[in-house]
Amino acid sequence: GRYGVFGGKYVPETIMFALEELETAFDEAIQDREFNELFQRELAIYSGRPTPLTKADRLSESNGGASIYLKREDLNHTGAHKINNAIGQALLAVRMGKKKIIAETGAGQHGVAAATVAAKYGLSCKVYMGKEDIRRQALNVFRMKLLGAEVIEVTSGSQTLKDATNEAIREWVAAVEDTFYLIGSAVGPYPYPKMVKQFQQVIGYETESQFKEIQKGKLPDAVVACVGGGSNAIGMFAPFIEKDVPLYGVEAAGMGVETAHHAATLSKGSNGVIHGSLTKLLQTSEGQITEPYSISAGLDYPGIGPEHAYLHETKRVTYEAVTDEEALHALKLLCENEGILCALESAHAVAYSLKLAKEMQKDQHIVVCLSGRGDKDVHTLMEFEEGGE
């Protein structure tokens, strides 16, 4: 259960048996052709996969340098890559005979995905969400309720994602015998990082075959994805890690990595344990976990998946940080040039790709994971515009 020194299972003894049970069930499931076919079929028939690989002609031209391709995870059901993993884990829960799922959520995207698969597969669902986030994301709270989920207000700590995750783990410790904890990113105790990668790697494998088809068997010259917990990135990188393809993970620099307001875990964090996993995280010198900041709710997490910490340490992936402002600018450029309103998370990846493309040749190709759509961010964008003017 390790990625170099990272990973592991730093959880109370009470749930250790459940992690073992989960690992066994997961390992069996992915060996089972029927399960895999079911998973692939649900991705296709329910979520609309494969998602296309769209060439961003006008954006690339106006930017100069390499061509940019967009892997369109924004076209998934519920609007982001999150559903891939939610479907996978829900099918596993059903296979394990669990009737209840719990999930944590920050802005509500994973909560909506979890509530969605719970409705689809007839499971009960509790979503833990910070009080502060419930206030800010009333629409998503309403959606989860429409889907039949119970949204549990978390009033501990800073009342945001980090605390919602703590609270979900607490609930899991209490209800572990009949409850499946559906974690939303490539974080948490082993085997969660492995499992989330497995269920998200469809992004990378589709991209590889689509790109090869367009470019006659070649591989992209660079692959870029944003990193919060890191599930879209690890899914995108999966098939390329062992190949000679430069990979770039893009963190949120918020107001700047030199300020106190960022979520650049790899750039500015240190080794530590969060939510059951040894990884890099943002903390004080004494080990108190600090509140990260990003305009994008999905990157606003003080930790990062342990495999990313490992890929960072081994330098297999280059991790860079992009500010709020750069992300907003990229979001607008993508909107105006391609008619695609991407999520603020994904805009970080787009922003870095634009920089990277300029340093590359015209006949080179960058693939960017467009992890989600930006409909959910329109309120934030409006507030920012009003504030900025």
Partner: protein
């Protein structure tokens, strides 16, 4: 095994191990509360360290942690606090209850050296299960510290055998699933679990999580060698917060009579 653990081990009492949070509501209060607990008959003391993300704790101890954080209490200061407790005459074993991340940041080796020097007797890391504790286990032995093991009703049998036979200081048996906190009912089959835990154990078997009344405590006498009370005591400290800061003598008196009301008559 040090002297303090020897006394603890050889006691014939139904052992009382209270938990309090360092720095709640201030450092001096923690010292006086610790001494008061010893006076009331505590056989050992668990000293919690304030942490931003205490995922094994319920709301009462979370709030205590927030108060401790507000006092800038941290792991290093908590360990040093034990020196002061020893200076003030505390004789019972003291176990530092800390989340693993705090240990990591201070540095495991630095912590262990400091703990040994400060008169700490044991360490309990609620988010460091057996599978991840190899290094710390080894280092604790070298520094004469007991790494307290927790076992839960969900612990698999072969693991329970191993943990209970290897346990040092005491074996912490979790009485119910979930986080720390006050409970009104306990899990069916708990006696069988405690029996199994005792079978291979060379050290006292203590039951904890959720105990808050004399009646609850008495119900485990016989099936266990002692008990841990955390949230109930921490809640009383919360009630006494302002007195503990401004009128401490009176507060400690009230606290002691609360503790007496809690303990089974025969354990005093």
């Amino acid at each position: 095994m040090n002297k303090r653990w020897e006394v603890f081990q050889h006691s014939s009492d139904y052992r009382f191990t209270p938990y309090i949070m360092a720095g709640d509501p201030c450092e001096e209060a923690t010292i006086e509360l610790s001494l008061a607990l010893e006076q009331c008959g505590a056989h050992a003391l668990e000293l919690g360290v304030p942490y931003s993300d205490p995922l094994a704790d319920g709301p009462v101890i979370q709030r205590a942690g927030m108060r401790g954080l507000a006092q800038n209490m941290n792991l290093e200061k908590t360990v040093k606090l034990v020196s002061k407790l020893r200076e003030r005459g505390l004789k019972i074993p003291v176990i530092i209850f800390t989340y693993y991340n705090l240990l990591l940041q201070l540095g495991e080796n630095r912590f262990l050296k400091l703990a040994e020097d400060s008169g700490v007797d044991g360490v309990l890391v609620p988010d460091l299960p057996y599978e991840e504790s190899g290094y710390l286990q080894k280092m604790c032995s070298e520094h004469n510290l007991a790494l307290i093991s927790l076992v839960s009703p969900t612990t698999r049998e072969e693991k329970l055998v191993r943990l209970s036979s290897e346990a040092e200081g005491f074996l912490y048996c979790i009485s119910s699933l979930g986080v720390t906190g006050i409970r009104s009912e306990f899990r069916a089959g708990l006696d069988d679990f405690l029996k199994a835990a005792k079978q291979n154990c060379r050290v006292p078997v203590l039951v904890g999580f959720g105990l808050s009344t004399r009646e609850q405590i008495q119900q485990f006498d016989g099936s266990s060698d002692g008990f841990i009370v955390g949230s109930a005591i921490v809640k009383k400290i919360e009630e006494l917060e302002s007195d503990l800061l401004t009128n401490r003598e009176e507060a400690i008196k009230t606290f002691k009579s609360y503790i007496e009301s809690l303990l089974p008559v025969y354990s005093r």
